[in-house]
Amino acid sequence: MQVQVLSTRFDIPDANKIEVAKQHGAYATLDKVFAMQPEEIIELVKASGLRGRGGAGFPTGLKWSFLPKNIDKPVYLAVNSDESEPATFKDRYILVRDPHMLIEGIIICCYAIKSHAAYIYIRGEYTTQVKVLQAAIDEAYAAGYLGDTVAGHDYKLDVTVHRGAGAYVCGEETALLESIEGRKGQPRSKPPFPAVEGLYGCPTIINNVQSIGSLPFILTNGADAYKAYGTEKSPGTHLFGISGLVKKPGMYELPLGLPILEVIEKVAGGLRDGRTLKGVIPGGSSTPVLTPEEAQTVTLDYESMAAHKTMFGSGGIVVLDDTVDMVKLVENLIYFYHHESCGQCTPCREGLGWMLKIVKKIIRGEGTTADIDLLTELCDNIEMKTVCVLSAACTMSTRSYLNKFRHEFEAYVTGGAPAQAAM
């Protein structure tokens, strides 16, 4: 099942070094890129069907085409490597194992959107990653792939690494821009959208590391080669991070469209012996949980996830077996989103803290049925009333546990903890 499109150089020793990476094809596509017009590249990426790998799945080429035409301001690229969604661990592989694929992708993207400055916003906790990435950028400058004449062409490009300080919310694209500008990482109200008014008030494209990392393959092999993988509406491959209670958790590159249970069974080694499946989080902690019944028919693509009222998300699959206490899972979940709320707007700032306290009260055995109902209602009251979707990430997922595993909450309310042991 596994394929190698993005991960071709992942297993090659020292592929983060430019000589090794070049021996295995890095930067080989640039001559072809610079022979093309920027608009042609955008059309090619549109044709490939590449969708944003940060979680929302917005078509990458279409996003680029939202940039205003004939503008006198500089255009910026911000590469989002704030990878902070719990259960997501894909971009870090690119950063460490094949940073030159990312840099090559950045060159392609910037040329296409006519940008001469790219920022890589990397989460503060990624200390090894930032060292490896910066070393690779330095190598790329020394080798002439970045700087005044990129790969010997009359094209200037500077790439700057900007380290975050560890805030989840800075993965939200406008909070990310605020953070790069040196302010507190709080999302901006939209509109205006970043493609019109982004970094330093200039048009800005924000793409995920994996989206950018997919570009060298698409440019080298063409849109059809990329579309050969995956489904019609969700083409290509994805780096899936499979974690939770499986025998072989890890990062696996797979084409989109595979049945989720088959992937768990065949790729991740299946559940531990004697255990039964209780649920699957399909794409990072914020995506609504799937019951085993729902998981039967889910395939790993955007459309199937939407049809099952959940989201493809970041490809961080978490497998939950019968030992998992869903109420405590929800506590953990809300704890995270509450802790990471930027505190800017009222519903998220005040609401998530209240939700956390209610769950804790239920776990202490002091809750009532009214508390479960209140929790459900608060999800509705908070969701989509906020500046950004951080609170929705919490409420959408929390609501799914409340709806699908309400009996576990009720067990706490009516008579102490349920039978399951904690994870």
């Binding site: 805030a167 507190k184 109200s189 509450h338 802790h339 990471e340 709320s341 930027c342 505190g343 800017q344 707007c345 009222t346 519903p347 700032r349 005040e350 609401g351 998530l352 803290g353 209240w354 306290k357 209610i358 804790k360 009260k361 508390d371 209140l374 009251n381 908070i382 989509m384 009333k385 906020t386 500046v387």
Partner: protein, 520 residues
């Protein structure tokens, strides 16, 4: 006229001013959209989410009204159950960690949170877990006291120090429900407009150390007036109250919107001049070194004037246009030179590029209108050979050194008609109390040539006589403001076409264009 657009609010077609956001545009025709963080002087921030409204057929269907500009044909939903529920829900969330200490909170009665709860929520609390505890009564400097628990984190105060004073002393630290407004350690508020954050704060999180715990907001009468703290002429509310068995006392000044003068703000210095209206007032007339009745004091002044070889009349740069005119008429009638000498009222270099002016008097511009000399040389020439100096509320001790004043008073007898106990009063042969501007009405012209009107705000239990009346009792012709205004219109060319009885709320700029416009 501003451009108009037609749109629909709750299905009703309305016409509003174009180019504004929904809160201002629809607010101007009397339809309220609740909001905490938006302030017209500070722009839209969009953090409180209280102003979320529905836009029918819109994308997105739910928008913050503060960030949404009115557009032709827009269909705004305010009364939909969906919107009412959002307002209730936001209020509930604002209140879960709020101490709800309205009985001991100074803001009660003028609190947005309280008003909105009554108007948009009204539901009992569902909060059964412990609220977040934060710091209380923090000294932020400049007389500002902060209560973090009452704060709704609208960031108006933060934006004020960043956008208006550009001093940036305040910030919001921490995240989530631990977010709070704070100063940097050891770096308190340090600007001359800091107390505006108390007015800006929609709740009781920012209070004034000076005003705290003195009065409940609902007992205060809010009388419009003009600050006399400097020549800017900022529009204010005089908040005053007569407690049972006590006198009418001013508790605070607050800024009153006038886009043409001060916008939404006033300076702290001017704000504190309310104390001059309350304290250290001359209440009892004095003749020689003993208290006297009012009639007796006036009579002794009349006698002094009639007996004097040469009387010099001194008028204050704080006097109203009408008062100055009456004094000028009187001085002419008794053939006495008139001076407005008051250099001491000017604090050179104290002004700034916002609201504070060097000239700490309110109506110096009227000297020029009436041709009243205010130079030191003019004053020196006038007092040469004089034996009586009749001062109408002009405190000479501000303009002359003690030695100079002593030298002058060695040969000249001083009569003070004054509202407050200045240094000069002790040196005067006769002192007659007079109403101050908060107890009187009149017109003043600010340093930028804008004519403004103030009316009587405070009525004392024992009202001091107003200046026009005293001048009349001394023999002046003018008896009241109306007469003075008729006279002014005949005497002063630039006032000829102005209806001085009907000064608009924003005042009138005494320039060709605006005077012509008003006349037309």
């Amino acid at each position: 006229m501003a451009d108009k657009v037609k749109l629909f609010v709750n299905g009703q077609e309305v016409e509003v001013e174009a180019g504004k956001n929904l809160i201002d545009a629809i607010g101007a025709i009397g339809i309220e959209i609740p909001h905490l963080c938006y302030h017209p002087a500070l722009g839209a921030d969009g953090n409180c989410r209280m102003c979320l409204v529905g836009i029918e057929d819109g994308r997105p269907p739910l928008v913050p009204a503060c960030k949404t500009r009115v557009a032709e044909g827009m269909k705004v939903q305010l009364d939909a159950e969906k919107i009412k529920k959002i307002q209730r829900d936001i209020m509930e969330l604002e209140l879960i960690n709020h101490p709800i200490d309205c009985p001991i909170c100074d803001q009660a009665g003028e609190c947005k949170l309280q008003d909105y709860y009554m108007r948009y929520d009204g539901k009992p609390s569902r909060m059964t877990v412990k609220p977040v505890l934060k710091a209380k009564h923090m000294d932020f400097g400049c007389g500002v006291v902060h209560d973090q628990e009452r704060c709704v984190l609208c960031a108006r105060c933060v934006r004020f120090t960043r956008m208006i004073t550009k001093t940036g002393e305040l910030g919001i630290v921490n995240r989530t429900d631990y977010a709070r407004v704070n100063i940097f350690p050891g770096r308190p508020l340090n600007n001359r407009y800091a107390l505006n954050v108390v007015d800006l704060c929609p709740v009781g999180a920012m209070t004034s150390r000076d005003f705290r715990f003195k009065q409940r907001a609902w007992f205060l009468t809010n009388s419009p007036s003009i600050c006399h703290g400097c020549s800017k002429g900022c529009n204010i509310f005089i908040d005053h109250n007569r407690e049972k068995y006590k006198d009418d006392v001013i508790y605070r000044f607050r800024p009153r919107l006038n886009e043409k003068v001060n916008g939404y703000f006033i300076c702290d210095q001017g704000r504190m001049t309310y104390k001059l209206e309350n304290d250290n007032r001359l209440t009892t007339p004095r003749v020689g070194d003993r208290d006297a009745g009012f009639d007796e004091a006036v009579e002794s002044v009349r006698r002094a004037v009639s007996q004097a070889q040469k009387t010099v009349v001194l008028v204050s740069p704080n006097a109203s246009l009408e008062q100055m005119f009456a004094v000028q008429q009187f001085a002419t009638a008794i053939n006495a030179p008139l001076s407005g000498y008051s250099d001491g009222y000017i604090k050179q270099g104290d002004g700034d590029d916002f609201l504070i002016r060097d000239d700490k008097s309110a109506n110096r511009a009227s000297f020029a209108l009436l041709g009243i000399d205010a130079t030191k040389a003019g004053f020196a020439a006038a007092v040469g050979g004089a034996d009586l100096l009749l001062s109408f509320d002009n405190d000479l001790s501000r303009s002359l050194s003690e030695a100079e004043l002593g030298q002058l008073l060695a040969t000249v007898k001083l009569v003070m008609v004054t509202s407050s106990q200045t240094e000069c009063v002790a040196k005067a042969a006769v002192a007659v109390p007079v109403a101050s501007y908060s107890e009187d009405s009149g017109s003043i012209v600010n340093g930028e040539g804008r004519l403004q009107r103030y009316e009587v705000a405070v009525v004392k239990n024992q009202p001091a006589c107003d200046l026009l009346r005293i001048v009349h009792l001394l023999g002046g012709e003018v008896t009241n403001n109306q007469e003075a205004r008729v006279g002014l219109q005949a005497a002063v060319a630039v006032l000829k076409n102005i209806d001085l009885e009907q000064v608009p709320a924003e005042g009138i700029a005494l320039t060709e264009s605006e005077v012509a416009h008003v006349a037309a």
